[in-house]
Amino acid sequence: MIPRWVYAPAALGVALVLLPLAGMASRVAWGDFVDLVTSDSALTALSLSLRTSLVSTVLCVLLGVPMALVLARTEFPGQGVLRSLVLLPLVLPPVVGGIALLYTFGRRGLLGDELDLLGVQVAFSTTAVVLAQAFVSLPFLVVSLEGSLRSAGQRYEVVAATLGASPTTVLRRVTIPLVLPGLVSGAVLAFARSLGEFGATITFAGSLEGTTRTLPLYIYNLRVTDPDAAVAMSLVLVVVAVVVIGLAPQRPRRTGGLR
């Protein structure tokens, strides 16, 4: 039951998003499409992108779920400031984010000496790609999940506690299942953002085939030498994203109606 007129702006919004995609598709040289997108370099980049995005999404879930819990379920002075700070990678142009990462994990960075001592070189490795992706994607998961947690409220958690469930049990058996739709859509957002990540990666991780050259970086390279191939690869990225987003369960929660 939504007002009829709502469909008009909704269609306009859909058009704003879909028209450019159509515009892009209209420029694809469909004749060479298969050849262009199945070259060795293309497949290497695609596989690297999928693997790093997966790892960074897992990292985002592992770190982001606790962060969202702390933000949504506790109160402490300075929480507002902390929330703003945590959301910052959202607003930072990715290239600046990459510089910031370089200033932190680079050889001359904040932790450079410590990492050197440990014999770890983070920057310019696949680890750096994952770090860059996690850095830019984490806020997505946190924001999306914090919203779900707040909307879900604490009533069921309180009931579970009175039934003797420890906080960990409540988290595992009540909180997480209840906000699962929010968690899934947060993870999808994080994965999508990781998949499309470019600026921070090229700055912090560089662009080496097989190691740090993810699909967006590969597309960037192609743009210089072969714009057609770049557009074709972009379309591949779009298709991969559609599949990933489409795979995420979007089943609406049973609300049970009125009693």
Binding site: R27, G106, G109, G112, T203, L208, E209, R223, V224, P227
Partner: protein, 233 residues
């Protein structure tokens, strides 16, 4: 795929405008050296310098200008002296059919003409500014792009009537429906951009690095570069 145990990897950092030529040279080098894998990383010269400064593992660095090369040598990160291996000059790029009828540098100052150039902060922008100054022409571009690629994108899409880019870029973009037409102009000769190359200090493969540098500087390199429109150093 990634490097295997029995292959040696040579990592080359090169300015983005060298993408096509260095990919070709990399393949030649691999063909000549069994078990050597040439890894190429392209980007803005300034970005690449920063990355090397922050610990990126590179064996060879080819810059699109001398300023960034000086930055690297100044930090003591170059092994030996850089050597110039190519030059490049500006050309006017217009959409296919040249709808605005541009014939020379003077036309770029015409009111109503949508001109795009590189921002003065990036090498091609600095060159454009210098050329215009030398010719006494005042350019009022509708956009100062971050890179040559961005200028070309505006021109190929017909968004801009003309752009100032390097000769090599015009050739690389091709002249098909999605390409550009290049218009040479005499004033370009006043500003020549020089490409230096150097082995990076601390390279694991100093010999291979030197050999690659030599390949670029040698006859093969010169031929490939000339095909792409680069001038001799």
């Amino acid at each position: 795929g990634g490097p295997d145990d029995d292959t040696t990897t040579l990592t080359v950092y090169a300015a983005a405008s060298l993408t096509a030529t260095f990919e070709q040279l990399g393949e030649e080098f691999e063909a000549e050296h069994d078990g050597v894998d040439v890894q190429l990383s392209f980007g803005g010269s300034a970005d690449l310098v920063t990355q090397i400064q922050e610990g990126a593992h590179a064996d060879v660095f080819a810059s699109a200008d001398t300023a960034n090369m000086d930055e690297l040598t100044g930090d003591g990160l170059a092994s030996g002296d850089p050597e110039d291996f190519a030059t490049n000059t500006l050309e006017i790029a217009v959409p296919p059919g040249n709808p605005a009828g541009v014939t020379g540098l003077q036309d770029l100052a015409k009111p109503g003409l949508d001109l795009v150039v590189c921002a003065p902060e990036v090498p091609c922008g600095a060159a454009a500014q210098a050329v215009a100054e030398a010719a006494g022409v005042t350019l009022s571009p509708v956009s100062e792009e971050q890179s040559v690629t961005d200028v070309l994108a505006k021109v190929t899409s017909g968004e801009a009537d003309a752009g100032l880019v390097y000769r090599t870029d015009v050739l690389a973009a091709g002249d098909g429906a999605d390409g550009v037409e290049g218009i040479e102009f005499p004033e370009a000769a006043s500003v020549v951009n020089t490409y230096p190359i150097v082995s990076v200090e601390g390279s694991d493969e100093p010999d291979l690095a030197r050999e690659f540098t030599e390949l670029v500087l040698g006859a093969t390199g010169r031929e490939v570069l000339a095909d792409a429109g680069f001038g001799p150093p």
